[in-house]
């Protein structure tokens, strides 16, 4: 979990960050299981992929927008 958090902070690229974020959440679920609250762990386990998917969609869309913008600017300059 700690590795994940350090990874989220240090890595600059969003996609790498998402992977580290998944690691962080895995550690958190482990802690909840160690505390023996299996229902909470279940809910967390279901919600984590949702959060990850939402992040991924946002990142992919942002990338597309940025690429398109750069193309437009490039045409402008020529």
């Amino acid at each position: 979990m700690l590795i994940g958090s350090i990874g989220v902070i240090v890595l600059p690229k969003p996609l790498d960050k998402v992977i580290m974020f998944a690691l962080l959440q895995a550690g958190f679920i482990g802690t909840v299981v160690a505390a023996k609250y299996l229902d909470v762990a279940m809910a967390a386990a279901i919600f984590d992929p949702i959060a990850t998917v939402i992040f991924l969609m946002a990142i992919i869309k942002l990338n597309e927008i940025r690429v398109k913008k750069r193309d437009l600017e490039g045409e402008h300059l020529d």
Binding site: L24, F28, A43, F55
Partner: protein, 86 residues
């Protein structure tokens, strides 16, 4: 008892460290990286809830944080789409 203390102080470290990272971490000029960084203090807060056994609050928080994240990302994407100069 000792394990609750481990969770508690890990939670505090994540909370403080994560908020510093959100404030001045590398690349936070990009709003999406900033949003991703807010997830770290969120996990820290969850650990503190766990230590106090606020489990119902924890359950609600896990669900609500996904929704908050989604709202924030919607704004970020929309802003980028419009090319807003803030």
């Amino acid at each position: 008892m000792i394990e609750t203390q481990i969770w508690f102080y890990t939670g505090i470290v994540l909370l403080v460290g994560g908020s510093i990272a959100t404030a001045i971490g590398p690349g936070v000029k990009d709003p999406i990286i900033r949003t991703l960084n807010t997830e770290i203090p969120a996990i820290g807060l969850s650990l503190i809830f766990l230590t106090y056994n606020h489990t119902i609050a924890l359950l609600t928080y896990i669900a609500a944080s996904v929704i908050i994240t989604m709202i924030l990302l919607r704004v970020v994407v929309r802003m980028e789409e419009m090319g807003a100069e803030l």
